[in-house]
């Protein structure tokens, strides 16, 4: 029992160490917040734009030492909901706000203002062992509607098609839904995943899979298909040749006050550094800086 008491005391000490460290951290944050004017920025929304927001906040906090930025990545719909509820300062969305969301926002006296941070293409990807090099929009639509179920039906190997889609809160899904599916419903056999990296991982490991991800997630482990004969690349997206392209947004409540931290953040992408970061993350910068 004595030994147990010793261990208990030790464990309690460790717990107290971590706990006091935690409470001390909270206190210190409070103190520094009151001393220096620490401004908090709450950013919520898309998993596609999330990495850009995180990268921006990293570069941002080097320059503005008094900023404390929190990034939540749960989906474009979540970001919109958070902005409308007043829970966040910036909502990152990979789609524009829907009419319903706008209506709700106006009811709550929130005026959403869109800032386009980058452009993105939704690329249709397959496993590298798939001999198919290109598909038409029509074919992709049929696959996702469940009318085509075997790769041999589109000229590939005899293998079942495993269609991977994003869940409905995703802006990537919305874009795909609008531009490829023509707003028709997907088959219920389609697997849903919660984020771009998940979709990438599923396609990378499943030989019969087809999925769609943002341009930044196409690498050597998956093969991006030509859609209607156009290869997705920065050039074709910027010129509008690639059919499934979209702008990436950051929404704020009204235009942010000039000189505030929010304003600096949503105009960061206009600087050369910001656009370089955008490009480094695999997206298409808005300007030809």
């Amino acid at each position: 029992m004595h030994r147990v008491r010793q261990i208990a005391a030790l464990a309690a000490l460790i717990g107290v160490f971590y706990g006091s460290h935690g409470f001390a951290a909270v206190e210190k944050a409070k103190a520094t917040a009151e001393k220096a004017k620490v401004t908090k920025l709450q950013i919520e929304g898309s998993t596609t734009v999330g990495p850009i927001a995180e990268a921006f906040s990293e570069a941002f906090m080097r320059v503005h030492k008094d900023a404390r930025i929190t990034v939540k990545k749960t989906g474009s719909g979540d970001g919109a909901a958070a902005l409308i509820d007043g829970r966040c300062d910036i909502a990152t969305m990979s789609r524009f706000m829907k009419a319903k969301e706008f209506k709700k926002a106006v009811e709550k006296e929130i005026m959403p203002v869109a800032h386009v941070v980058a452009m993105d293409g939704v690329c249709v990807i397959v496993h590298p062992s798939n001999p198919i090099g290109m598909l038409t929009t029509e074919q992709v639509r049929k696959i996702y509607k469940g009318e085509l179920t075997n790769w041999s039906q589109v000229g590939g190997a005899d293998r079942a098609i495993v269609a991977i889609s994003r869940d409905t809160s995703s802006g990537t899904f919305e874009t795909f839904h609008k531009l490829v599916m023509n707003k028709e419903k997907m088959a219920s056999a389609v697997e849903t995943v919660g984020s771009n990296p998940q979709a990438h991982a599923r396609v990378k490991t499943t030989p019969g899979a087809i999925g769609y991800v943002g341009l930044g997630f196409v690498d050597r482990d998956v093969k991006a298909l030509k859609v209607d004969g156009v290869t997705p690349s920065r050039k074709t997206i910027r010129s509008g040749q690639y059919p499934v392209a979209r702008p990436l947004f950051m929404f704020t409540n009204g235009y942010p006050k000039l000189g505030s931290m929010t304003h600096a953040f949503v105009t960061f992408h206009l600087s050369e550094k910001g656009q370089e970061i955008v490009e480094a993350k695999g997206f298409v910068p808005v300007t030809e800086y």
Binding site: Y18, F23, G50, P51, K73, S129, P197, G216, Y289
Partner: protein, 553 residues
């Protein structure tokens, strides 16, 4: 006959029951072993000089012997120099991206220069606009020329730039350099066939990308990268080896005759560059990789204390552990007093009244509610209803630690009540009777005699519920968990926190960067499992001691 059959059946039965226990132990090992092994790689690994540089230079960590690291950097830079030189030389011919960037930069400098001149009054605004417009045309033409895939298009675009009027127009400004660049490029074009270049360029860019990931950016460009992930090369030797393999071998997909799926194959990348200068690069890297990266055995115990860069690429799980400890401690702090008192009431007062039966039913119900429903309740109650109806309590609609902790407290309450009940009930009546015999009242008996005697059992319950609360994700999903934040929230009622359980889920399916750092994924799950297992081991130890003590009596 019948007897033998029965014996066989008996043996089979006994054997299969033992087998089931063995299968479960095997399942335990299969589940835990890979996690622990791969997770331990986050703490024990061979770190390269890039790792040590990162630990020194990043303000987040800032540790290490700067002199030793400076010496190491010198040595490794010397080993790397040939590689960078080869890349640069080859790239001068091929790397249109760099040339394009240069062109763009020249244009920007020109704009600045012109702006200054207008401000100083040296030229008029109209002249400035004219010059700028022309320069922009030239820049675009030059960029197109760089990007062109065949000589004809390139020559055509260059002709635009090299029009005689241009250099005169832009004389005395930075714009001259634009024309100069076009000129030298036109010269190179005489000797090179651009259509070949397209092929080489793709491969060259891939090689440059991998070398960048392996060794980091070349020394001149080192300060320019904005993001931490691009500032350093491979920090771990196993990742470096992976990149080396990717560099030296290229995966190709070849079509088969029967038109089926493509088959995987590997070719040496060096073969692709056979007759160019770049072919030596691969031999150099293969031979000198260790000299370039200087791997050394590292014990990164600060993994459990350090913060991490966004996306969990570098760094540790310190804030997650902190968040989990905070949430769990608060949850236990709320539920333990409630639980012990409830258990005491259930046992001491009025054994089987309606009220007591109702309480028991409710405790059992609480124990059976799914954890996601707790999360829903936390969302609906602490984050929706309370801020609206009782704002004086201080809750606000955003996620906060207190809401998460309270939700976890309700989750954990039944466990504590059950464990306390069992413990208090197992205290022999004689203790209580003896205490009452000496004249102590009910409360005093309980506090001084029953409770201390029941303490081991209660402690077991507390420790078990600590483990449970630390591992639960669903209740904090909507109430307290946050994917990434800098620093701790300023108050318990504002802002969520990172937690081990939620971050494990996030990192397993999350950011692209985590795909490059699987050791961090496994490390986080390993930390969580270790934490929970330690707590449970502790509980088991207490319980076995108590059992032995009771048995020995």
């Amino acid at each position: 006959m019948r007897r033998r059959l029965r014996t066989y059946l008996d043996r089979a039965f006994t054997g299969s029951s033992l087998l089931s226990i063995l299968m479960m132990s095997a399942a335990l090992v299969i589940i835990l072993a890979p996690m622990m092994y791969r997770g331990s790689k986050a703490v024990l690994f061979r770190g390269t000089v890039e790792f040590r540089k990162m630990q020194l230079n990043e303000p987040m960590f800032h540790r290490g012997n700067s002199q030793a690291i400076a010496e190491e950097t010198e040595r490794t830079e010397a080993a790397r120099k040939p590689v960078y030189d080869l890349l640069e030389r080859f790239g001068a011919l091929l790397d249109t991206e760099l040339s394009q960037k240069r062109a763009r930069r020249l244009y920007r400098e020109l704009k600045k220069q012109l702006r200054n001149r207008v401000e100083n009054g040296e030229i008029s605004q109209d002249r400035c606009d004219e010059l700028q417009g022309r320069a922009k045309q030239l820049r675009n033409a030059l960029v197109d020329a760089y990007e062109a895939g065949d000589n004809e298009t390139a020559q055509r675009k260059l002709a635009v730039v090299l029009e005689p009027g241009n250099s005169a127009l832009l004389a005395g400004t930075v714009g001259e350099q634009l024309v100069g660049e076009a000129g030298s490029y036109a010269e190179i074009l005489q000797t090179m066939d651009l259509s070949q270049r397209g092929l080489y360029r793709r491969e060259y860019l891939a090689v440059k990308d991998i070398v960048g990931k392996l060794l980091g950016p070349p020394p001149e460009q080192r300060g320019q990268a904005h993001l931490t992930e691009f500032r350093y090369g491979a920090t771990r030797w196993d990742r470096a080896r992976q990149l080396l393999d990717e560099l030296l071998w290229k995966t190709t997909w070849a079509a088969q005759e029967n038109g089926g799926a493509l088959s995987e194959g590997r070719t040496k990348r060096a073969d692709l560059f056979r007759q160019t200068q770049l072919a030596r690069l691969f031999d150099i890297i293969e031979r000198d990789a260790e000299k370039m990266l200087a791997p050394k055995r590292t014990f990164y115990w600060q993994y459990f204390i350090d913060d991490c860069t966004p996306g969990h690429l570098f760094g540790g799980v310190g804030p997650e552990i902190l968040g989990t400890v905070l949430l769990t401690a608060l949850a236990i702090g709320f539920s333990v007093p409630l639980g012990i008192v409830s258990a005491a009431y259930l046992i001491e007062c009025k054994r089987d009244s309606c009220f007591v039966r109702a309480v028991r039913v409710c405790i059992n119900t609480l124990a059976g509610v799914p954890s996601i429903v707790f999360g829903l309740f936390g969302l609906a109650f602490f984050l929706d209803w309370l801020p609206a109806r009782a704002p004086w309590l201080g809750f606000r609609p955003g996620s906060n630690i207190l809401a998460g902790a309270l939700t976890l407290a309700i989750l954990v309450l039944p466990i504590i009540i059950r464990a306390s009940e069992e413990a208090i009930r197992s205290v022999p009546r004689t203790y209580k009777e003896a205490a009452l015999a000496t004249g102590a009242g009910g409360l005093r008996t309980f506090l001084t005699v029953t409770l201390p005697a029941a303490l081991p059992g209660i402690l077991t319950g507390i420790v078990l519920s600590l483990g449970r609360a630390a591992g639960e994700t669903a209740p904090i999903l909507f109430t307290a968990a946050v994917a990434w934040r800098m620093g701790m929230p300023r108050s318990l009622l504002e802002g969520g926190t990172r937690a081990l359980s939620y971050s494990s889920y996030d990192v397993a399916v999350g950011d692209r960067v985590a795909m490059d750092a699987p050791h961090n994924q496994y490390g986080m799950v390993m930390t969580l499992v270790l934490l929970v297992l330690l707590l449970n081991m502790f509980a088991i130890v207490i319980r076995s001691r108590v059992a032995r003590k009771l048995r020995g009596q």
